[in-house]
Symmetry: D3
Amino acid sequence: MVKIRVIAPVVATPLVAVVFEQYLAAARSDTEMSLATLDKGPPSIECRYDEALAVPDVVAKIVQAEQDGMDAVIVDCMGDPGVEAAREMVSIPVIGPAETSMHVASMLGHRFSVVTVVDSLIPAFDHHAIKTGLTGQLTSVRTVNIPVLELDDHARLLGALVDQSVRAIREDGAHVIILGCTGMAGMAIAVEEGLKKESITDVPVIDPTTLAVKVAEALADMGLSHSKRTYPPPPEKEIVGY
Amino acid sequence: MVKIRVIAPVVATPLVAVVFEQYLAAARSDTEMSLATLDKGPPSIECRYDEALAVPDVVAKIVQAEQDGMDAVIVDCMGDPGVEAAREMVSIPVIGPAETSMHVASMLGHRFSVVTVVDSLIPAFDHHAIKTGLTGQLTSVRTVNIPVLELDDHARLLGALVDQSVRAIREDGAHVIILGCTGMAGMAIAVEEGLKKESITDVPVIDPTTLAVKVAEALADMGLSHSKRTYPPPPEKEIVGY
Amino acid sequence: MVKIRVIAPVVATPLVAVVFEQYLAAARSDTEMSLATLDKGPPSIECRYDEALAVPDVVAKIVQAEQDGMDAVIVDCMGDPGVEAAREMVSIPVIGPAETSMHVASMLGHRFSVVTVVDSLIPAFDHHAIKTGLTGQLTSVRTVNIPVLELDDHARLLGALVDQSVRAIREDGAHVIILGCTGMAGMAIAVEEGLKKESITDVPVIDPTTLAVKVAEALADMGLSHSKRTYPPPPEKEIVGY
Amino acid sequence: MVKIRVIAPVVATPLVAVVFEQYLAAARSDTEMSLATLDKGPPSIECRYDEALAVPDVVAKIVQAEQDGMDAVIVDCMGDPGVEAAREMVSIPVIGPAETSMHVASMLGHRFSVVTVVDSLIPAFDHHAIKTGLTGQLTSVRTVNIPVLELDDHARLLGALVDQSVRAIREDGAHVIILGCTGMAGMAIAVEEGLKKESITDVPVIDPTTLAVKVAEALADMGLSHSKRTYPPPPEKEIVGY
Amino acid sequence: MVKIRVIAPVVATPLVAVVFEQYLAAARSDTEMSLATLDKGPPSIECRYDEALAVPDVVAKIVQAEQDGMDAVIVDCMGDPGVEAAREMVSIPVIGPAETSMHVASMLGHRFSVVTVVDSLIPAFDHHAIKTGLTGQLTSVRTVNIPVLELDDHARLLGALVDQSVRAIREDGAHVIILGCTGMAGMAIAVEEGLKKESITDVPVIDPTTLAVKVAEALADMGLSHSKRTYPPPPEKEIVGY
Amino acid sequence: MVKIRVIAPVVATPLVAVVFEQYLAAARSDTEMSLATLDKGPPSIECRYDEALAVPDVVAKIVQAEQDGMDAVIVDCMGDPGVEAAREMVSIPVIGPAETSMHVASMLGHRFSVVTVVDSLIPAFDHHAIKTGLTGQLTSVRTVNIPVLELDDHARLLGALVDQSVRAIREDGAHVIILGCTGMAGMAIAVEEGLKKESITDVPVIDPTTLAVKVAEALADMGLSHSKRTYPPPPEKEIVGY
């Protein structure tokens, strides 16, 4: 049995609970899923400032998860906030859905596009691609121009996701689509259906939440985790205020 | 339940059966594993010529696997021979262990090295890195200088693997090691033990066979496969001699 | 005197004979040209699967060419199928027209485009550019959307070639055009004429068949061939079915 | 007159005061320098975890600096912690010494090396180079293996800096040296002197603290700051605990 | 006090004097600016041939500048003609505005565009980006299609600059604009004003002449110059005709 | 019949005449070779300053060559001085041996090294690789540390060339060697002989002079030249002093 904790890098909101349903749906029957939200932090992650204020508690919650016996954690945000700092503090795998999705999209097809929420996140996705070495595969980052906290209007979201995916495929040459916000969890199949109505039946759509669960399970199965040579334990010292 | 077929891109040899034990050991209890070997092809893959002669029957065996109801196939060779041609012919995931290992190694640490069998394979691994975009992460390809068909001398192989891994870590700055031949299957833990004797405890060692099974299971669980836009079905036409 | 054999990676078809005329026309008066077609393989190369099934006999025909005293061989296809495997088996130069054209186009101008037959070949050309390091110079791959075996409709082909070349130049910034299929052999001058009617007189059009002959002659003149350190002779072993 | 505030991303320590002397020494006579230290955070930055806990208060101090009428701020650490988040919150230039040093080193010579404190920072410098696009210019990251809080042993530090700089130049081909920790402030000239004793008189040594002041003054003179299109103001929302 | 000489790589023209006013305006009150024009060379730099004929006298004028006690020189052209040769001959900083602008633009935002005079300069700007490693940041080179010697029609120039800048931002994703000819000196603020009328208020516009002065002052303040390991003094020998 | 002129970018020296013998030896029997040396310029090219002073007369001599009816010109120097400026002024191919050698070396093997004369040329070769996109293939630039004008000591030169080539192959992983100065013309076979004594028989050695003749002949045969879109004719204007 594998124990995975999803760390929402935000304080508790209704959206978090909705998204967690998708994590549950993705897990194997013998995987035990749990959820943690932040005590301190923003209600959504839409910029680097949000990330900066979320990260200290994200790391604390990941440290707690390891102490609670988790086999892996997933940070529930396509900014992958705090994953590098947390990997220094724990030995279990810390999954960032953006990084993971980009690697798997690269395995599945020639070029991929990300369809995310708002324009201000475009540089962040470009930086993910630069860091992973996958700039040649990332053909575009497109946005539905809907703020995170309005993602619960599913009809509007779905329409925009399909529209931008069609453009990514036809105009930018995308062969794979990545949903660019974990708040879009559970919509991959509906987007594929929408693409079919546009006569596009040959492009897989990656839901990063589902993928994160599968990769967490796989790493836990193998007992494989991040290199501590890349993420060595921080030196002991007093940190004021924490 | 997931059904995975391992396609050994060689005619049946004792080594194939030994390696298949490792694939079996890596599978989940509810995964059904099967093995296919070639009717036509070389007894081992050590160069591009070997690959070229193996590929037609590799593709045929993968087509057969899909007809037999498999959910995914793994090509049992770090040259990933035939995976691109086969992806055009089937809709199930076709896993190449080299490509998969490089992506996962990149997720786990800053830089990785491959330790493979013979020097003549170095350009092929460099090409895998170039194709995947991961040249910045591949810090070296090192070799044990043991031909594939002598890999059954495990003591000699283990000694050489540990020695080259230590050099990759100390001299080339590797943070993750990939075993560079599926014929080394099952040796990752022993290599990690050997590294410990050299006081290196912070470098994960990836066994590509185990990893391939886990990724095949994960993709099958998700119903996710390669983009048919990248790998469209070949046009119908008569092919002489096949 | 230089002896060059063109290896058509297909079984004998009328198109092969037509294209060979262009190879003949490109050769110096003291160059002896010959042609080989496959006994086993597809009638045209339009995907990786076609390539996979062509390659074993391509390599066999190249081995035969060396035994017949050839000074160089050219594989008559912009997929360069089998050139790497064959270079392991022989010591004479094995020319792939795609690789050669991309290098020479890079010498002649700032950015080049390839105009090829069908969309499914786009990833393959991107991969050629990635492998050669010339991704920065390849500004686009465009297609005429005409299958290989319909290339004999020269008027339709020419119109589409000119149209796509104009777009490559005006929209993508191409400074050099490469004809992307050896089945377009002999049309470079007509395309340049067509560009002139569109007031474009400053863009050279490369015919890869002509170029391949010139490079083969040049390498043969110099006694220069591929590095056997990159392409070492395969180890001796029994290969079943070949 | 230009007003610059140095933001030490640590709580007040004796080293901070020593380093601030160097910032003062670098400023023009008509530049007004001030210093802020953190209320909450680590005493030194040696890993990503330290950075993560420093960043929220770094950003707060930079927001305060703008409110206090500063023309520019410098984050006093070669990890550039918090500079991206802070740029979203203010309109004045936020200088990261690592990013700045790498760009200027690239202007001054063909290849540069960074000589920093400890091995665990190597991936962070590699990431700075990747993000800035300057991986081709960064020829090595070397370390003196002295923790930040022991940098006050100047004789030991100087010896190690010269030794590693010589190796960077002779073995790695460095043409420019960047001091890789702001705690090394003020030692560039002594390192150049040390290089002279090794007969190396042609390699400039960049002190990132001095450079950061000069670039801050220059940007303030020009009224030039970061693009708000890259760093748009965060959306208004309640953030719990801040 | 810092002494800077601007080297116009052209024979004296009215435009040179106009542009020099902008250099003067950018300098600190305690900076002494002077101007040199060529005795031999073209009246404007619009191609590599112009550059080739300008360079010998550019280098001579820079050698003279060092003999005259200058602390730094600026070559007044976005082709940076002669800067590398001159750096071999002198020890003071030799500023090329193109190289400098690209590095600073990369510090200020995610992606930048250059808006220059004529299409024939596009490859040269691409080459600057390739040489500096900043190809990933250069999102487009656009042109106003006005020859250098007609740049004195300021209204026409300004309209075209704003128009192309808007396109660079909206169509190419530019976050920073670089004026691509030193003959556009002094127009950055007017372009920013023009962008505001198009509702674009978040994109800084870099004037390379102003920037070059600021960087020259900064380097002179620090006593920092180019690496003589990259630019060693030429060996002594007789050069005919010079 | 093809007419090729070799442009030595230096004033007449004995070495030029010796090297021209090698050009003659490389030409086909029906190729007419001629030689031009400079009226104004240095006696050898060892730095960018030498290049800068050579280029104006190099371009003039190339313009003369076209007027004299030449079909192609070769600039006899591995710095390729003046080739870009000259391509703007003429319509015939202008061959730079460095650029040409790097492209052809990339066709022949996995990685190449350049063995040149002195360390100060290393950045220039790195820049050639950067410009051509071939940095991934250039594994090292090594030097014999012999100034150009002492290259006539053939025994010393040969010993050093073999020694550095062996190191390039064994230590840097080179699969192809390029002689890095046209003053080494005619020594490729002797270097290959020297490598054989070190048991290295699988690495081709490229003589750039021979190669330049072959490529010039090939381009002339095809009537193919540089893109005038990359190298448009300079605008008409008076240039003072030329």
